[in-house]
């Protein structure tokens, strides 16, 4: 979105200005689009008293930017976006234009207007704005619109600045996994700077990548290490148990699920998995106990009931 388009955003775009308490808030764009339904539908943007005077008398682009900052600091992102748009409209060639465009885009993003935020953030990038938050926000916005190729590029830029950003590592590795780009997941996460910081999402993504490239031993190592780092992570435990079961290591899988349940005693899925593994190990009374507990906790998986029925049958009981 070029600056001129951003500046005219309030004239022609879907947004309305909602500044109030400014009797002489004589902005052409505000008058042009001040429709009643907009006024009633959207939150009222009330500037702080100390800014009103500045805004009443020939406000400058900086005045609007300051107002945007004030709204943003009060988490009124809709209002902040309007104020930044006003700033850009007042002086499209202002010295801080790249930053103001970024603030405009980030306010749109934080207000939930992702579709409008993306072109604004891309414009800030084109104008040379340098801040890693830009890439992180743009990547997240692109991911939410399922433009994963563009999102991946932005995640990578963000990680080049700082290879330890958790949100970027989580999202990029998930995108790459969805693309079946397992080698890139391994490159990204099996990295000395990432290893000490790996969270459950990164552990499970890395283990999946190893498993799908025919390296189950590395997957096991990643998951075991990950569970020692995040003992209460049910996803790590579940993936580790599943991998062990696939390798016919049911005793070890049972031990993993036992550990996981000690940290998550009310997780129905862990109870179901534990009950199933115990049944495989022919430990039917315990299997029954855990499958019944899973169902009692709301496990809606029909297999839980089927497995419970099989266990009860083997125990000589009726379901």
């Amino acid at each position: 979105m070029p600056i001129s388009k951003i500046a005219s955003h309030l004239h022609h775009g879907p947004r309305g200005s909602r500044f109030s308490g400014l009797a002489t808030f004589a902005l052409p764009f505000a008058i042009a689009i001040l429709a009643p339904n907009t006024l009633f539908a959207a939150p009222i943007c009330v500037p702080p008293p100390e800014m009103k005077t500045r805004l009443q008398h020939a406000p400058t682009a900086d005045d609007y930017s300051d107002l945007g900052l004030w709204f943003a600091s009060h988490e009124q992102y809709d209002c902040a976006a309007d104020a930044y748009a006003a700033s850009l409209q007042t002086d499209p060639a202002q010295k801080n234009a790249p930053r103001v465009i970024f603030m405009f885009g980030s306010s749109l993003y934080l207000s939930g207007d992702i579709q409008e935020a993306i072109p604004a953030l891309q414009e800030a990038e084109r104008n040379g704005y340098k801040d890693n938050r830009l890439h992180l926000m743009l990547a997240a916005a692109l991911d939410s619109t399922h433009d994963s190729a563009a999102a991946e590029a932005e995640w990578r830029i963000a990680l080049a600045f700082d290879p330890e950003i958790t949100s970027a590592l989580d999202a990029l590795s998930t995108d790459l996994l969805n693309d079946a780009n397992y080698a890139s997941v391994i490159d990204l996460l099996d990295n000395p700077r990432v290893l000490p910081q790996r969270n459950p999402t990164q552990c499970t993504n890395l283990a999946t990548a190893y498993e799908r490239t025919g390296k189950p031993d590395q997957a096991l190592e990643v998951l075991r290490n990950g569970l020692n780092t995040s003992p209460d992570s049910a996803p790590i435990a579940a993936q580790l148990a599943a991998l062990l079961i696939r390798g016919d290591q049911n005793e070890q899988a049972a031990a993993v699920l036992d550990i996981a349940l000690s940290h998550n005693p009310d997780d129905p899925h862990l109870h179901e998995a534990f009950g199933t593994v115990l049944a495989r190990l022919n430990r039917m009374p315990e299997a029954r106990q855990h499958l019944e507990r899973a169902i009692a906790l709301g496990d809606a998986n029909p297999e839980a009931k089927d497995n419970l029925a099989k266990v009860l049958k083997s125990l000589g009981s009726n379901p």
């Binding site: 340098k130 080049a160 600045f161 700082d162 000395p192 700077r193 290893l195 000490p196 910081q197 790996r198 969270n199 075991r224 290490n225 569970l227 020692n228 780092t229 995040s230 003992p231 005793e251 070890q252 031990a255 993993v256 550990i259 000690s262 940290h263």
Partner: protein
């Protein structure tokens, strides 16, 4: 009780008794763990071979000490670190060879505590130290002094085995892991001199970042550490001017150090005798190139005093170049890796202290190459150095690197060479096979005191403070280079051999962005051991680097005073 050595602390005697009692009961009822002893008695001492973790138990991650670690005698008690998803309390057993009774501790585990910070070095551009995800999950146990002394005494002739067993209800063992370690009979035998520095990158008015603002230079400390003592001693601080690379002669009698000097003159080098109270005066300063006889640049780089203290070898830009034509330098606001810095042109020069003359070293003064990192062999007969084809530090239009290891850094890969010193006449440089032409950048060589080995740093590009840097060892005559066992995950560099050659100290960011120091033992065949952290070397938000063993008594230097800056500079620095 007679079996319990007198040096066990009182509180441990009870648990040792209990341990022996339980072992006896277990043996009576036929539950002796000895039945699990693997059939390899020649390799694993039987006393602890019984304690191989059962494959049915959940594997604990022992993060420190790593299996195969070798501790120096007398080092302060280490903090054992482990992570365990299964246990909520732990048995810690340390088994010894022979008839020495094991040590047994029951612990609920304590979390890692971040040591105190230095409030003076907190800035917007750095962050207080935090625990990594792994560190936050770690449990710790530190033996008290007498217990550690006992462990060390019984782990010299054969390894001790640390077995950690996790319990959920205080009884049932669910998890286990082991780690074997030894105490070396080789003492470290010398203190370590190092720089203790804040990580406070400072953006300037024009966007250019300084690694440290001029008014913070006085926060740099220089310290001496006896690894047998729990803390270091600051021997130089409040310097009004910047000081950098230092070196000591092999006999510990001569000390050399880059000192910027009055008016921020970066071309000065101090060479002084080592004594308890060292005073560096203007008369002690060497102007590397005051008369322009060996080029336009005044700045010496990575200077090193010869083993006998008679000479200093350094890198200068060359006859026609100045500083900006010969160094690639970029600083970042990311305090974790805040600087990229390496020469792209340069020649080796040597300084004769007796005659106060400086001369290029023939054979290492070829302007077609950058020749740098010159270090002396143990006997002073050779100089080992890094060499690459010379190039401009930057190409026109080259994009700025935005972070360390950015592909936009000027790419340069050094090879290691050696050249005879030959009383300053030099000779023909010989490429060191194994440390050259391997698709990596080979730099920062150090020759072992017995002259058998070169330890150097390998990274993808450039040298110094590279996140991917690893230590390698290669025979002095060249051969197959081996990655060292002591390498940590992140940044391994600035190494220095102990005077007896059996220990090496180096810096790493493995545990924190605030660099720490580690030791490794090196045997006569060049085999080294996993890294041993030197605890408590500075505040947790300061970095330690440039560690160097000094061949002196532990208290051989008490204070260094620098009197080469004028009062105006001092006032400015303290402002």
């Amino acid at each position: 009780m007679s079996a319990i050595p007198a040096f066990f602390p009182k509180r441990n005697r009870a648990v040792v008794c209990l341990c022996l009692l339980l072992a006896a009961i277990a043996a009576m009822v036929g539950l002796s763990l000895a039945r699990h002893t693997p059939a390899s008695p020649g390799l694993i001492p039987s006393a602890f071979a019984a304690h191989q973790p059962s494959p049915k138990l959940w594997p604990i991650s022992i993060d420190y000490p790593e299996d195969g670690s070798i501790f120096p005698p007398g080092i302060t008690p280490p903090t054992i670190l482990w992570r365990d998803a299964a246990g909520s309390s732990w048995n810690i057993d340390i088994f010894f060879a022979g008839k020495t009774p094991p040590i047994h501790i029951v612990t609920g585990g304590e979390r890692i505590k971040i040591p105190p910070i230095d409030p003076e070095t907190v800035r917007d551009t750095n962050k207080p130290p935090t625990l990594t995800t792994e560190q936050a999950a770690m449990w710790t146990w530190t033996p008290d002094g007498p217990t550690w002394a006992a462990i060390q005494a019984h782990s010299v002739s054969a390894p001790a085995t640390l077995v950690i067993s996790g319990m959920r209800d205080g009884r049932t063992v669910l998890s286990q892991a082991r780690s074997a370690f030894t105490t070396s009979p080789d003492p470290v035998g010398a203190p370590i001199f190092y720089r203790d520095v804040p990580l406070m990158p400072t953006p300037g008015v024009n966007g250019v970042v300084s690694p440290l603002a001029p008014n913070a230079i006085h926060l740099i400390h220089w310290c001496l550490r006896d690894i047998r003592k729990p803390a270091s001693r600051v021997v130089l601080k409040d310097m009004p001017t910047c000081a950098n690379c230092h070196s000591f002669s092999a006999d510990g009698k001569t000390f050399g150090m880059d000192i910027d000097g009055p008016a921020n003159d970066k071309g000065l080098y101090a060479v002084v005798p080592v004594q308890k109270h060292i005073a560096i005066e203007s008369k002690d300063m060497v102007h590397w190139n005051a008369d322009g006889a060996i080029g336009k640049s005044r700045v010496g780089f990575m200077s090193q005093v010869s083993p006998d203290g008679r000479y200093v070898v350094s890198t200068l830009a060359g006859p026609t170049l100045d500083l900006r034509d010969s160094y690639y330098v970029t600083n970042f606001v990311d305090y974790r890796f805040l600087q990229v810095f390496y020469p792209t042109r340069g020649i080796l020069v040597w300084y004769n202290r007796a005659t106060a003359t400086r001369n290029p070293l023939p054979g290492a003064d070829d302007p077609r190459y950058v020749q740098t990192d010159g270090v002396w062999s143990h006997n002073g007969k050779w100089i080992v150095f890094a060499r690459a084809e010379a190039r401009d530090p930057r190409q026109p239009g080259q994009p700025a690197a935005l972070h360390s290891n950015d592909p936009n850094e000027t790419q340069i890969q050094y090879d290691l060479y050696r050249i005879p010193f030959n009383n300053g006449k030099g000779g023909t440089p010989e490429r060191i096979v194994g440390a050259s032409q391997n698709g990596m950048s080979n730099s920062f060589p150090k020759v072992s005191p017995d002259g058998k080995w070169i330890v150097f740093v390998q990274a993808k590009n450039g040298q110094l403070m590279r996140p991917d840097s690893k230590l390698y060892i290669v025979p002095f005559d060249g051969g197959v280079a081996r990655p060292m066992r002591c390498n940590t995950r992140l940044m391994n560099s600035w190494h220095s051999f102990s005077p007896n050659g059996r220990w090496m100290v180096f810096s790493s960011k493995a545990r924190s962005p605030y660099t720490q120091m580690y030791l490794t033992h090196i045997d006569e065949n060049g085999n080294d051991s996993p890294p041993i952290l030197i605890d408590n070397t500075t505040a947790s938000n300061r970095a330690v680097n440039l560690p160097e063993f000094v061949n002196i008594d532990p208290d051989g230097i008490e204070e260094i005073e620098v009197h080469v800056a004028d009062q105006k500079a001092i006032a400015y620095a303290r402002k």
